[in-house]
Subunit: 549 residues, 2 copies
C-alpha cells in the first residue's frame, strides 16, 4: 500500500530490534525502533515533569501539554529527518483499542462517584445513546450536503455515515480535568457518564456501519440494527457486572490478603482486563463491560482486599490510565505533522475547509441534543436540585465538543486501515480528523477553564489544587470521600426506611426511591456474599499498614 | 522457515484481531488470536488462584504450579487440536527480554536487602561472574566431548559454546521462594545476587559468542573480549545508578507528591523502564542497569515520595514481577508439549539423552566453582559470621541448579530464531532445553524445600507463612524491615564513628569499614541532594494516608 508503515508498528519488530540491540544481531531499521521506544519513554517522562511544572497555569492541562510536546517533537523530527517523517511510532488503532483504552475506561468506572452516576443514570443514558445518534445523524447529513462542494473526490454513503460515527465520539478528558467532582457533582457525572456511554455508542455505531450492508436499508434491517444495539448494551453491562462480582467473590472467599497483597492486586488487574477481552471475544462492547466491571469492583472487591492493596490498586489504576492518556495525546500531537498524509491531499486548504465544516457540524449536532434532552430530563425529573439549568446545559454542550483519540483511531481504521491503497479523499479525511482533534483539544481545551469559571463562578473555585490538571489523583481522592458519602446516605436511608416510601415519594424522586431499594437489596443480599464496605474486617490491612508507618 | 509461526507472535496481529472482533473486520486467524489472549489471561488468573490454594503444601511453589497448569493446558490443547499444536501464544524471546524480564530484575533490585547485598558484594561478583565462566567452560567442553557420541547431527564449535552460555544461566526464582531473607540473609543475598550477576554474565557471554568470530581466536581477541566484558559491566552499572539518582533528584526537587501521587508512581515506573531500554540502545546489559536502578531508587527516590506512593510502588513493582514470572512459567509449561519441535527430531530418546548429559554437566559445572570459590571467599573474609559453611555451600550449589526462562529464550534465539530453516540437531537442542527447564524446575524445585530444611533446620522455619511461595510479598515486607535495619546500622555506626576505625578494624572486616565510610559519605553528600530516609518529611504522605483510614 502507499503507506506501508501504517501497519508497521508491530511489537515483534520493536521487541526483536530491542533484543537485536543487545547484540544478537544488528540491522539499521531495528536499531531505529529501539531508539524509538527509548525516545518515546523519555518523552513520556518529559510530559509528566513539564505537565507538573505547567500546573500553576490555571488554563493549561495535561492533555494540552502532551499534545504540544508531541507537536514540538514532531516538528524537530520533521526537520532532522529532512521532511521524511514526523513520528517515532506509527499509530496502530488496534494498539490503542487493546492497551490504551481499557485502563482509561476501567479507571473511570473504578473512580466514578457511583451514587451521582446512578442518580442521573437515565439522563446520562439519554445523552450518551440518543444524543450520540442525533449528532451522528446531523454530522453525516451535513457532510453529505456540504462536502461535495469541496470537490475532494468521491465519497460513498458509507464514508459519510462513518464520518458521523467518528465525530460523534466525544473526548471529555479535557473537560473532566477542569470540572471538579466535588464542587459540581451533577455536571461531572453528566459529562463523564455521557462520555463513557458515548464512547461505547459511537464505536458500536461505527462497527455496525462498516459491517452492515447499508445500500439496501429497509425497516427490517433497521429494526435488526436497533435490536442488536440494545442487546449489545445489556449483555456488555451484564458481563462487566458478572466479572466484577466474580472477582469480589474470589477475593472475599480465598482471603488472599492474609498472605499476599501482590496476588490480590494481580488478580484485580488481570480480571479487569479479562472482562474487556472477553467482551471483545463475544463481539460485545469491551468499553461498556470494563466500565461496569470497574464500578462493581470498586463497590465490592475493593473493600475485600487489604488496606495496602486498596492504596495500591487505587493508584495503580489511576497511574495506568494517566500514562495511557498522556501516551495518546503525545502521539496525536506527533502524528499531526506526519507529511505522508499531507502530501497525499492535493491542497491542505481543502483539508482545513473540511475540518472547519466538520467542527461546525459537531457544534450544531451537539447543541441539537443537549438542550432538548436537558429540557426533557428536567421535565421528568421532579427533584429541583437535579434540574439542569441553562448555564449547566451550555457547560455540558461545551464539555463534549472536544474530539480525541477514539476519533483518530476510528478514522485510521476506516480511511487508512481498510484499503490497500489510500485515496486522496481518505487522506484528506484523516488529516481533517487530526486537525479537528488538535484544534478542539488545544483551542476548546484552553477555553474550557475560563468558560466554566465564567458560567459557574459560584460552583468552581480555581484556587483549589484539585481543579488543576490531575483528574486521576483527584478522582482517586474523591473515591474515598465517595465511600464516606455513600455511608452517610446509607444511614440517611436507614433513618427514613422505618416509614415505607409512599407512591408520592416515588413520583417525587424516582431515582432516590430506586436508590433506596437498591441499598436495602445491596445490604441484605449482595454485600453479605460479595463483601463491600462494612462487611469485611480490615484487620489484615491495618497490620500491613503498620509496616509502612 | 520450517517453523514460520516462531515469529508469528506479533502484537499487531493480536491487537488487530482483537479490534477485528469488535466488528470492524473479521477473519478466522484473527478471531483465534483474541481467544488466545483471553484464554491466556484466564490461565494467569487460574495460576494465581490455584497457586494460592496450593500454598498450604510446603513443597510446592508458584513456579511449579504455573508450569504444571501450563503442561495440562498444553495437553488439552494438543488433544483438542488433534495434535496440531499445544500452544496459545508463540514464544517470542524478544517479548520475554523486553517486557517480562525487566520488571522481574528491577523488582529484585528494588526489594533486595541492600546492606546484605553490598556486604557480600565481592563474593557475589565472584560467584556470578567467575562462576558463570567456569560452568560455561565445563558445560561447553563436556558437550563437545559427549554429544558426538549421540549422533544427533553436526554441531559447530559455536553451537557448543552457545550451549555453555545457555545452560550457565541459572534461575534461582524457585530457590528464592524457599529461602527466607529474614532467617538466612547471607544465603539469600548470595543466591539472589549470584542469580542477577549470572543472568547478566550469561546473556553478555551469549551475545559475545554469537557475534565474535571464534574460529580464529587468539590472545588479542580474547583480551578484547575480556575488556568489552568489563567495560560493559561498569558502564551498565553506572547508567543504572545515574538514572536512579536522576529520578530521585527530580522527584525530590519537584515534590510531585504535594499534588499527584499517580504522577510520582508513573515517573518511577517510566524511568525504571527507561534505564533498561537506554542500556539496550547503547548495547549495554539492560539487566544489570535496571537492577542497580532499582537499588538506587529504593534507597533514594522511594523515600522522596508520599506514603501512598511508597505503598503503591512497592506493591506495583512486586505485582508486575509476579505476573511476569507466572507468565513465563505458564508459557514454558505450555510450550514443552509443542509437537512441531518433537516431530523434527528423529528420536525423542536422543533428546532425553542429551538432556541427561546436560543436567549432569550443569551439576558438575556448578560444583566446580561453588565450593572452590566459597573456600576462597572464606579465606579472604576475616569475619567469621560471613563465612560460608559446607551446608550453606551445598545449599548455594543446589539453589543454582534450576534452569528457567532465560535459557529457553536464549535457546530459541540461537537454534530457532537465527536460521531460516531449523536443523534436526537444533530442534533437538530446543527440546532438550525445554526438557531440562521442566525437569530442573519441577524435580529440583520440589526437592529444594525438603533439602534446605534438612540442610539448615535451625535457620529456616517452614511453619512461617513467609517461607511459602510468595517471594515478592515477602520481599515487599522485608523491604521495610530492611530500611529499619539500615537505620539501626546507621545508628550503630554513629555510635562507633567517634573512634576512628583503625587499620586492624579494616583488616578484620573490610566490608564493614567500607560500609561505614559509605554511610558517612551517603549521609553527608548523597542524601542531602537526592533525599532518602530521614531527609524527607512525610507530611504529605501522612495526610494522604489519612484518607484511606
Amino acid at each position: 500500500m502507499l503507506l506501508p508503515h501504517f501497519r508497521a508498528f508491530n511489537m515483534s519488530v520493536h521487541v526483536g530490534s530491542l533484543f537485536a540491540n543487545s547484540g544478537l544481531s544488528t540491522s539499521d531499521p531495528e536499531t531505529e525502533s529501539v531508539d524509538q521506544i527509548a525516545l518515546f519513554a523519555t518523552l513520556l517522562c518529559a510530559c509528566i515533569v513539564i505537565g507538573h511544572l505547567l500546573e500553576k497555569a490555571q488554563w493549561i492541562n495535561q492533555s494540552i501539554t502532551a499534545l504540544l510536546i508531541g507537536l514540538c517533537t514532531g516538528g524537530i523530527i520533521l526537520l532532522t529527518s529532512g521532511g521524511r517523517s514526523s513520528r517515532i511510532l506509527e499509530f496502530q488503532e488496534e494498539f490503542f483499542f487493546i492497551y490504551l483504552l481499557p485502563p482509561i475506561i476501567f479507571n473511570a468506572g473504578f473512580q466514578v462517584k457511583k451514587k451521582q452516576f446512578f442518580r442521573n443514570f437515565m439522563t446520562i443514558t439519554l445523552f450518551g445513546a440518543i444524543g450520540t445518534l442525533v449528532s451522528f445523524a446531523i454530522i453525516s447529513y451535513g457532510a453529505t450536503l456540504l462536502f461535495p462542494k469541496l470537490e475532494i473526490g468521491y465519497l460513498e454513503i458509507k464514508d459519510y455515515l462513518a464520518l458521523g460515527a467518528i465525530f460523534s465520539a466525544t473526548d471529555s478528558v479535557c473537560a473532566l480535568q477542569v470540572l471538579n467532582q466535588e464542587e459540581t457533582p451533577l455536571l461531572y457525572s453528566l459529562v463523564f457518564g455521557e462520555g463513557v456511554v458515548n464512547d461505547a455508542t459511537s464505536v458500536v455505531l461505527f462497527n455496525a456501519i462498516t459491517s452492515f450492508d447499508l445500500n439496501n436499508m429497509n425497516t427490517t434491517t433497521a429494526l435488526k440494527f436497533a435490536s442488536n444495539f440494545l442487546t449489545l448494551f445489556v449483555l456488555s453491562t451484564l458481563l462487566g457486572v458478572f466479572v466484577g462480582l466474580l472477582c469480589a467473590f474470589i477475593i472475599r472467599t480465598l482471603y488472599f490478603g492474609r498472605h499476599s497483597t501482590d496476588r490480590e492486586v494481580a488478580l484485580m488487574i488481570l480480571m479487569a482486563y479479562l472482562s474487556y477481552i472477553t467482551a471483545e471475544v463475544f463481539k460485545l462492547s469491551g468499553i461498556l463491560t470494563v466500565f461496569f466491571c470497574g464500578i462493581v469492583m470498586s463497590h465490592y472487591a475493593w473493600h475485600n482486599v487489604t488496606l495496602n492493596s486498596q492504596v495500591t490498586t487505587k493508584h495503580t489504576f489511576a497511574t495506568m490510565s494517566y500514562i495511557a492518556e498522556v501516551f495518546i495525546f503525545l502521539y496525536v500531537g506527533m502524528d499531526s505533522l506526519d507529511v505522508e498524509k499531507w502530501i497525499l491531499i492535493d491542497s491542505p486548504k481543502k483539508s482545513i475547509m473540511a475540518s472547519a465544516i466538520l467542527v461546525g457540524l459537531i457544534m450544531v449536532g451537539r447543541a441539537a441534543f443537549v438542550f432538548p434532552l436537558s429540557l426533557f430530563s428536567n421535565f421528568i425529573q421532579k427533584n429541583e436540585n437535579e434540574h439542569i439549568n441553562i448555564k449547566q446545559q451550555v457547560t455540558v454542550w461545551w464539555a463534549g465538543l472536544m474530539r480525541g483519540a477514539v476519533s483518530v483511531a476510528l478514522a485510521y481504521k476506516k480511511f487508512a486501515g481498510s484499503g490497500q491503497t489510500i485515496q486522496p479523499a481518505n487522506a484528506l479525511l484523516i488529516t481533517s480528523t487530526i486537525t479537528i482533534v488538535l484544534f478542539s483539544t488545544v483551542v476548546f481545551g484552553l477555553l474550557t477553564k475560563p468558560i466554566i469559571r465564567w458560567l459557574l463562578p459560584d460552583e468552581t473555585d480555581p484556587s483549589t489544587p484539585n481543579s488543576s490538571s490531575m483528574p486521576l489523583l483527584q478522582n482517586g481522592h474523591d473515591h474515598d470521600h465517595d465511600h464516606d458519602h455513600d455511608l452517610e446516605v446509607e444511614n440517611g436511608n436507614n433513618g427514613t426506611s422505618s416509614t415505607r416510601p409512599s407512591l408520592k415519594m416515588l413520583l417525587d424522586s424516582p431515582s432516590n426511591t430506586v436508590h433506596h431499594y437498591w441499598r436495602k437489596f445491596d445490604d441484605s443480599c449482595m454485600r453479605p456474599v460479595f463483601g463491600g464496605r462494612g462487611f469485611v474486617s480490615h484487620a489484615t490491612g491495618t497490620r500491613d499498614m503498620g509496616e509502612i508507618h
